[in-house]
Symmetry: C2
Subunit: 421 residues, 2 copies
């Protein structure tokens, strides 16, 4: 079965909003084995919507529209479909009653134009919308299917999940379903990760594909099978093999990120962490705190942005800074140790470095050390272990250097808690 | 002149990437007064690309394509256009030489397929690409214009800015250009802001339109005129009138945000700030530090996430917490004052509150105080002034409450430094 998506809305043609509905449908259609050959965007204009419907009717079995179901005069998707099919619009009392009681229950005033949403083209059924006032339609005749959705992403998604998806699966019974699982890696670049699984990248079912993100690499395993469980069964051995080869870099799957993974490990082990940040400037604390119930394992963060604060508040030795520069492994280590001591936590993290675009020149007696822009140091300390990493992100943007520094810190903590380094 | 955009790439139809090129072109075309009626997305398939070109040719004066200019066999935009126009592909020696020297200069190996990018349809000119290997084409004949761009957003944008935009403006000389300016407000909701300028929202040139963001409202003033300077002249008096009416809420324009605006004010006044954060958990420090050269005015942040740290590190009085709960105006004020003292800065900010979904019950002797989820307190202190705000964001998401808390803190600081409250 071939599908075509039609997105209706002048605001899309003015560039006011990015069309995320199209990408959602594209992904969903792929997952249930329906080919998508065209996506068309058209404004709120009946004549043009009808011309686009004509094209789609000639080249697709399934037409999916989004947008144009609201109560205003601009919303004319259903009118256009009626015009295209050559049928009348029909008032649906049941939907009108639902609309009336919906407005009553929310305490909002229903104006007459809202009842426009109870008119539907003849020969179509209602596609229910449980989260908004605008239902869609299902047309299923002459070997053609038309489904309409409102433009509001949350309503569209719930209508798809609750009704439309199953309906299309039932129309297309012998097709293979596509199921994917993302494995997440950090601490190594895309090409190095890909190289270690290069033989697996040529498989056909399941397939394995690498995706590079900021400070991480994903490997997506995708299987086609008659149902989701079978697909997951096919994914399992490949997943095991990949994790086996890349154990050190593998940190999670699906929607995991380093802060949720580290949070879970700390919770499981009943351990706590505190951070002393210089160039990451609060980013590290912010990521840790973004996880609900982080207060169970996160006690304290110090953003020691100036050298003065590093000395006076954190208690870093002046001589250490003088001898090594404030941007050094030695200072990062001392920051991690001191914040652990002060906070009385199991783990301390220290970050120092240059997130700006200027190199730094440090004078030691007669000698000059040049620390180049983008050079950062992250350290993690426990009571009896300490590790530090020097990383150089030259020519990266400030916000990326800060993010990558927080990423490297969290990963170093993860590896040390798990005793993997 | 009417334009149509064609986005070419199977990856767009699989939902792997969001189509941001379409929204970029839509905005740009609107700004130079060219109507956009259709956007079509099609896969890497010659026959289907040609059928889409045919439709576009019949209904548009200008066809703009993105994608399909790479060196692989899948990249067939130019071949499709040649097929559609009924012309041959022609080798361009000049471009081939440029490609060769580009590869030499970057130290990369040029393979034979790269030279495919030096073939162009006859009857077309080259649309130069200074940031990549794939140039586009300009076709300008029979009252039709075709422009092709690669799919890489950065290359596409530079080609548009450097060449294509001026070319299209010159083709459409009598049209009005559209220029906009965004004014930014915070501390008041969209409807209240809109109400204070409701008479201006009905003007026709310039127009004024409100946009609600997270923790802020934008008013966009848009003028149509024969050139940008004239449009800006028309915007000026409206801008002045709006700022006049909404002075207290107005904080900046264009790409300003509260952290850049506050950074500029602190720099100008040679003043410094330190922050003590509880529920914002580092977000406030992170936003301040995201501005280059923040080290000139930001010295120290303390994420006092646990009550213990608030008492031991920040020196908040135990009795104060006992008498008012840790989530209180009194504690927020004390946090702001203490961090200012400790850091020896001009300004101190304190934040405390409940970003989670659970209410908190505080016991004072026999009395219970219930502090509901989403209740936050932000305070700002200088040597001789202090102000605090209580805000309630019930049923907001954790990350939004944290962001809105940082927004309210920065705005309170802004207003106090500027002596506006």
């Amino acid at each position: 079965l071939k599908a075509e998506i039609i997105c209706i809305g002048t605001e899309l043609l003015l560039g006011d909003i990015v069309n995320t509905n199209a990408v959602y449908f594209a992904k969903e259609l792929a997952s249930i084995g329906i080919d998508l050959f065209y996506v068309t965007t058209v404004g709120d204009n009946k004549e043009r919507v009808i011309s686009v419907l004509k094209n789609a009717w000639n080249r697709a079995d399934i037409i999916i529209t989004s947008g144009g179901l609201g109560p205003t005069e601009d919303d004319l998707t259903h009118e256009s479909i009626a015009g295209f099919l050559g049928v009348e619009m029909k008032f649906n009392q049941e939907i009108a009653d639902k609309l009336t009681s919906y407005f009553k229950s929310t305490g909002r005033v229903m104006v007459k134009s809202n009842l426009k949403q109870a008119n539907f083209p003849e020969q179509t059924d209602v596609l229910p919308n449980n989260y908004g006032t605008a239902p869609g339609i299902i047309y299923n005749k002459n070997n053609k299917i038309i489904l309409t959705f409102p433009g509001v992403p949350s309503e569209l998604k719930s209508m798809w999940e609750l009704t439309a998806k199953q309906f299309l699966i039932s129309m297309n019974p012998n097709v293979s379903l596509i199921t994917s699982k993302d494995l997440r890696f950090t601490g190594e670049g895309e090409s190095a990760i890909a190289e270690k699984v290069s033989d697996l990248l040529n498989m056909s079912n399941p397939t394995v594909a690498p995706y590079a993100g900021r400070g991480e690499v994903r490997l997506r395993i995708t299987a086609k099978a008659e149902n989701e469980n079978k697909a997951l069964e096919m994914i399992k051995p490949v997943e095991k093999e990949i994790i086996n080869r890349l154990d050190k870099y593998y940190y999670g799957s699906g929607n995991d990120n380093l802060e949720t993974v580290v949070g879970k490990i700390l919770t499981d082990k009943c351990q706590t962490v505190a951070v002393a940040e210089s160039f990451t400037g609060g980013k590290l604390a912010e990521r840790i705190v973004s996880v609900p119930d982080a207060s169970n394992y996160f006690k304290m963060g110090l953003v020691a942005y100036s050298t003065e604060v590093k000395i006076n508040q954190l208690g870093i030795n002046k001589e250490l800074i003088k001898n090594h520069s404030v941007y050094s492994e030695e200072v990062a280590i001392e920051m991690a140790k001191r914040i652990r001591d002060i906070s009385n936590c199991d783990w301390g993290i220290g970050t120092t470095g240059l997130a700006g675009t200027k190199d730094h020149i440090h004078q030691i007696d007669d000698e000059e050390i040049i620390i180049s822009a983008g050079t950062i140091f992250v350290a993690v300390a426990s009571k009896d272990k300490v590790q530090v990493r020097k990383l150089i992100y030259s020519r990266w943007k400030r916000e990326d250097i800060i993010y990558l520094g927080s990423q490297a810190s969290l990963n170093l903590l993860r590896l040390m808690i798990l005793d993997k380094i």
